[in-house]
Amino acid sequence: MDRIDEDKPLDRRAVIGFLAKAGVGAAAFLCGGAGVANAVLEPAPAGSAAPGGSGPVPGYDWTKHRWGFGVDATRCIGCLRCAVACKQENNVAFDPHHFRTWVERYAYVDGSDKPLIDSQADPANIAAAGRPDNYRFDNRYAEVKVDKAFFVPKLCNHCTRPACVQVCPTGATYKSVDGAVLIDHDYCIGCRYCIQACPYGARFFNEERQVTDKCTWCYHRITKAMMPACVEVCPASARIFGDLNNPHSAISEFIHENRVEVLRPETGNGPNVFYVGIDKEVN
């Protein structure tokens, strides 16, 4: 998947540059592409990709957006296509110890008031998948009475007051103007203090590059008007992404129409992944 997208952004970048030079503006491109596939975001305000825009991506103006993410846990079927797509898109090692996104399974069995919890990284689930480049949940509850069970997708919460950013000694990890928490891999010293500070376990150490890594909401995609890979592949529309500045975006409507909650609000971090349909035991 990352191979396919490796070509696409290059083409798009060239097209954006051409359009900008021609004085047409990249907004027209974004609007024009909106109907092509569900991989494309809702139309962005005019001038959002104006040449000379701010931020780390040329031609993208991060002052024009405020990204947000929604998870409708009632829709998640635990197929784990998101976890696989994320690893492919972002070159994350295919092992059970490094994830930018993962899915948790909660099962209340035989009248217990405490759920049994596992994720695709559970050794039994890894064994059930049988392949290093794939994930699946095993069928461990086939023989027991399950009172209630559900899946909860997890990812970086791109907090408003991120503890990881607060503790970074160099400022290599930072809160971008559009809301995404990013890492400058060329500046990170690899001290791993941010991994410790994140209460959600969303960060991991990339041994190959010797720097910290985590979900960026597929920043390389969203700045080119595409959806994050996990959102794009979700067959159940359990993952919702969009621009909070746009009142008609999928995420704005998701928050408007549902009573959403966030994980660990008591930390004061101000998470920006909004959940529907989770349970008291989810944190």
């Binding site: 994830f99 994720s119 503790v167 010293i189």
Partner: protein
Amino acid sequence: MDELFQSQSFIGYVYPNETVMPWGVLIVIYPYLTGLVAGAFTVSSLYQVFGIKRLRPVAHFALLTSLCLMIFVPTPLLLHLGHPERALNAVLTPHTTSAMAMFGFAAGFYILLLLVETWFVFRPYIVQQAQSRQGPLGLFYRALTLGSYDLSEKAMRHDRGWIFMLAIIGIPGAHGLHGYVGFVFGSLKSREWWSSDLMPPIFLFSAIISGTALLIVLYVLSCWLRRKPVDLSCLKAMAYSLWGFLMFTLLLEGVELASLVYRGREGIDMIMNYISGPAFLPFIVLQLGIGATVPIVILSFVFWRGTTGRALATAILVSAALVMLEVLMMRWNVVIGGQEISKTGKGLLTYALEIFSKEGIVGASCVLAAPFILLLFVVRLFPPWEDASSEAH
């Protein structure tokens, strides 16, 4: 990828990314070394600033010990970094909200202070050697004089003023440096085991006892090696100081544990499982029991009985060695223990100590031993003992 990292086994539910622990044994060594620096400096200051004359035999040795340890404090951090070549980023472009970013400045300032104070303390000896020695060593001492050969009473009075002032600045410097290390852990809200306002004072007091205990051990060992009698008055003064600060440390650690349990916030069940299970030996038995309670009992007993002579020296030496174990285990239980309790509050991990890897026990032991090897050379260049250089002090 398997050979690039070490994953940890777990029970219950832990976040998938937690199965690779970010901080290993090198980060255990780092606060241990910093604590020894602060503690050794405290003993030096008790003589230089507070005028406790009984500590005179170890005052200069304490300063050298503190300096040698401080030189190696950044080593475990640099070895741990994924990109040590970028370490200066934290100093050149520090992120001011980061507790860790201030380390470079605090450590740099403190190393400088220690170097200057040591120079003033040993200046008479340096001048004397510069004037009497030939060859490379003579050149070395002549360079160290920095062109100042004046040993007149006026110059010495001036030096004493500087030493006093530097020692006074050094007290908040050394203790601030170590209190800050406690803050690095205590300020994180992601782990219940770390998130405590008591963490900085616990680190501080444990630092003082570890440095004092280290000096006791090194002083007694050096007396044996030099075949000199142990100054029991000095040893007893250090033991009193150790006993008092140890009481404070144990009290703080007890209060911290009690509030953790009494608050009983989310995840407390798993913490209790941890304390009564995997942490029982390193935390309850080694840290609080053998490392803290036993030395308090031993020291209280010898003080009460008025024990003296070789028995007193042995009792104090054993107690000091146990206190050094206590503080090492405290660092271990904070750094490793904190990571063994999952952030989910629903699972426990087991840290697998490696042997030869970058974060292995062999490397960590070398880092821990390095300052003492340096100290062996430094005490030859700058003899801190009264008997060896009485004419210099």
